[in-house]
Symmetry: D2
Subunit: 355 residues, 4 copies
């Protein structure tokens, strides 16, 4: 295969973003895009990019023998069925996070992918951020020595709309899931226990859906290190994403980013502009690198950078955090998983705020 | 009274530090210093400072009618008896932290002070750090709006010696107690619940004494905000003290300090020197301001900046954190206090690593 | 015109960079690219981008009636003839800096453009850097009050090859010309006098060509403010680009950039990675914004962001700085211009190190 | 000698500051203080510090056989006569900067000190700033390689009063003299040529006295490196003191200082407090170290940290800068010195704004 032929399923904000990034990639070709809302606007958008085909139905992509891989950027509840179908069709899959709001369904999708022998990469875009990668690289080189503590701060600039909250799966599954993945990624070890304390401080609407908007989650890793994540749905100064690893050799931290280096020293103090607004601004380079990494992995037959197992582990941690928050006690992931085996199916919510 | 006549009880590192700071204060006079180990070295030290009297026994200070106030800088287990005696003698008291390792004893000392009508200030020196005070001031002005989250990072550059560990009362009562106080101070609200997770990552010697060297503690405040403290007994890059308040109006943070602003840009990267080594370097100005604040309060008959109640609340939080760490569940301070009423007296440990 | 049809003249590093940026622009179309070295490699490169035509001769672009505008990215000595020809052909021009190494030729080209009524934008890419734009915006809002001082630091990571040095026109015309433009841009006032002191500290090869590698240049602006630029051909820690405006209201500064925010605190100090290597990394977003600005100006018939006069003024300042450096005294731009009218034509050098 | 017995001449702000620092020094003793304005207030001030003697006349200090050294903190025009008298009396001298506004007088004083074999240290306090010392140390270790460029920024928060301006000797001799010394100190090489461009931007009062309030000065060092100093009499955001060394191995910089690390991220941007107001705040630790260094040098018979020659060289550079600013051309220090030999004596101005 000289260029990877890709079909995009879902033409929302994130689907179009991946399409644009793939269009610039020398080894990729966007062969088609499918969306139930396909109309004149999408057709015009596609035409300006020389994307040859626009479909309303994902089936035409899944049935196209010339397409090598699909990007699943549709609402969360469609991820699992689409992965399963793509697997049957022998197409490699890039799937936005989360794979599902129910880790039992995620596991089902993973098994389908594995049986079919296709490659599956999951959309934890932050792993491709240059600063976090540099932290990871230093950590792997041993710069922090043996790991003792990990801190993640993750705050959105503004809460999602109520309709989104209702379907989101809650702060832990919708938002903190990125942080659980980042924690595992940086620590290089699985999370085995969580204690989550969530409160409603920003907007009572969260309480209406049994959700929280502010949380602190303690993590215990398999390697014995501790971690802590703090989350907020609303930081008025902009998107706030920071990490810190601390160990026997020192600390490795990545501070939040600013759009410029400009600084004003005036009679009333020192001032600079706020950080970039949200994830599209902050992670634009990371998104480019994310899809490039998928293309590279498939072209070379090398393991993907973010696996289905990574997705499952982050979902398990998020699930356990939600349980912990409700039960008011620490919850082990193994225990949470076992209990789930007997529990009723959870309601599967909608798309993701960040997608 | 034109100048406050002060007696120092305990001539260790911290007693001498307070003495030096008081000697520079225009409204204070160091009238005497007492220490069981009083010998030629101490006498010489005192002579060079024109401190007129050196005693082996604190009694001579407590019985001196011309002395207005005492600084209690002796080992922790002597604090409560000395406060009680000073109160009886009608002397105002500055007492190093913690008042005691058993909050029931602390309460006893507080009652004695209150009955006697003396002023009692407790040695939470960090409250006088310029950066933390600025955070507090901004918070009181409402710059962060309604408080949602508080983060405290507190790491020592190296663990105390084994003998100290054995008597310290453990990480929560010995080290994190400063952070519980800082959290209450900055948040302007009492801690009502804690969940502490401690592990041994640095040195197995801690385990030998039932202690931990690394911990993450989640706090719930009376005003509904959440907090989190991370502690380590060993940061190889130096003393690390940071705080952050986050709320509806934004965040207010104080970063760690560096000894100089010098920075080297070289072919292999950018470099600067480590933060100051430990608390004596980092908080030298804070210690000066701390004793000045006590002198000012006593001279003007104004409330002290750090009260006995502050000490008690920090001790209760530390106590509950220790319980939580052992029990593996969140502990409410009220519950912890109630249980203690029925429990056996805890072993009262020795001095404080930072004093 | 629905989309601006553009021909690129010169397919070197900078010509290809502009082509790629224009390809992503919704309102632009790269219709052709011309280069004397056009061969299979260039054809393949163009094919992958769906650029329909590759020519060896710029004439085919200049004679193509369907082409609206040209990007002149060929060696410096071809700029003036190409601008003149493009003007005759009625095509708008984006020309890389410098227009010429002889400001009399530059003036000639400007007159041709003006007579033909075409738009001419010159490639001072740094004006489009987000941080410098923010400084400029604050300055225009009056944040620094009345301007007193301006500082520009501009250092390359490594010297150009000897062949380039021989043809470059020297540090002031080749490298500092960017800084003269930045100074005028930020200060909002013309440079009227310069005093330049240059030395050879890095490599004796510069002396062989009557050039310097290290310089400090004092500027006097028409509005009475002072400025200073420091230049070096070799900063081992990477490309270093900083500016600072200082005035009655305070200072506005833009610090150098770093590739990541990652920071390591270790036992031997604090470390971070070096700044990005060179202008392609540092100004990649600025280059995108630069061509977009040209497209926007032409499409809307609005003035270009960097005019021919801007180019001429920067060249005059550079020319005067070179004179000052040789003569060892301050030189007024007016005087320098007058003298040039009588002097022999200078040797016109080759391309630009940064293009 | 067990403790150095010191007499302070001049009880203004700077004289009292040195007295306080010496009082805290274990090896120093403040034996007397003399000031023509000696009155009840000064006597009270001295009594509170147990300084045994207050005189109106410096003579009583100079004639006191028990006094080992004097601190000359009186107005500038008295420095030379007092150094000469102290030298005759065999007393070591610490003299505030500048020694004199006429370097011929300074040379005369230096010769007197040398003949008498006394130690003479001059008050360039900034050499004792921790950050600048760290820069110097790195430079001496070779961290910046061979030096190419040096930059000094030095801005006062507010201009001195008119009466002071009239007597100050002008910006170069009064204010920039500190920066000439810093440049020599950091570069480890003498200044051989200067080009100074000064303008009046802040207040026309400066023009009335032939003075300037804003200046850029280019330096050429004996070792071939270039330097540049920018000065302003008024930075509304506070005292601004920065240095940067740049060479073949990289750059070493010391940024300005801030009083706290507190930072506010709010909806309208990021804010922090201004730098410390002025030199007393910024250099308080440096002043302590400065007098301690003098005491140490005298006690051990070791060379002083800032010599009479250092003072002379800084004065020569300042003198040449003033000449350059007036003449509008670069001036070599040797030439300036030679010319001065034939010129009339300059008017000797008053005290120093920073003393």
């Amino acid at each position: 295969m000289t260029r990877l032929r890709i079909g995009i399923i879902g033409a929302g904000r994130i689907g179009r973003l991946h399409a644009d990034n793939l269009l610039l990639h020398p080894d990729a070709e966007v062969a088609a895009i499918a969306d139930p809302q396909a109309g004149p606007a999408l057709r015009e958008w596609a035409a300006a990019r020389s994307i040859p085909r626009v479909d309303a139905d994902a089936g035409s992509i899944l049935n196209d023998r010339l397409i090598d891989a699909v990007f699943i950027c549709s609402p969360t509840e469609t991820h699992v069925p689409l992965i399963v179908e793509a697997a049957r069709a022998g197409k490699h899959v890039f799937c936005e996070k989360p794979v599902s709001l129910d880790f039992r369904l995620t596991r089902f999708a993973l098994q389908a992918a594995e049986r079919a022998g296709i490659m599956l990469q999951v959309g934890f875009n932050r792993r491709f951020d240059r600063s976090f990668r540099r932290v990871k690289q230093w950590a792997e080189e041993g710069a922090a020595g043996e790991l003792h503590l990990l801190r993640v701060t993750s705050r959105d600039p503004e809460p999602p709309p109520e309709a989104y909250i209702a379907m989101s799966g809650g702060l832990f599954l919708d938002m903190a899931i990125h942080d659980f993945d980042m924690a595992r990624y940086l620590c290089g070890s699985d999370i085995v226990e969580v204690y989550a304390r969530g409160v409603v401080r920003i907007d009572p609407v969260f309480a209406r859906y049994g959700d929280v908007d502010t949380a602190v989650t303690t993590l215990v890793f398999a390697n014995g290190a501790l971690g802590v994540i703090d989350n907020s749905r609303k930081a008025v100064y902009g998107y706030d994403q920071r990490v810190e690893l601390f160990g026997s050799g020192g600390s490795i931290a990545a501070d939040n980013e600013y759009a410029t280096t400009a600084m004003l020293h005036a009679a009333d103090g020192v001032h600079r502009d706020k950080p970039p607004h949200f994830f599209l601004e902050r992670y634009s380079a990371a998104y480019r690198e994310e899809s490039a990494s998928f293309v590279r992995s498939v072209m070379r037959g090398e393991p993907v950078a973010v696996t289905g197992r990574d997705a499952l582990q982050a979902e398990l941690a998020a699930w356990a955090a939600r349980q912990s928050s409700v039960a008011g006690r620490p919850v082990r992931l193994a225990e949470s998983e076992a209990e789930a085996a007997e529990a009723a199916e959870p309601t599967i919510g909608g798309g993701s705020h960040e997608n």
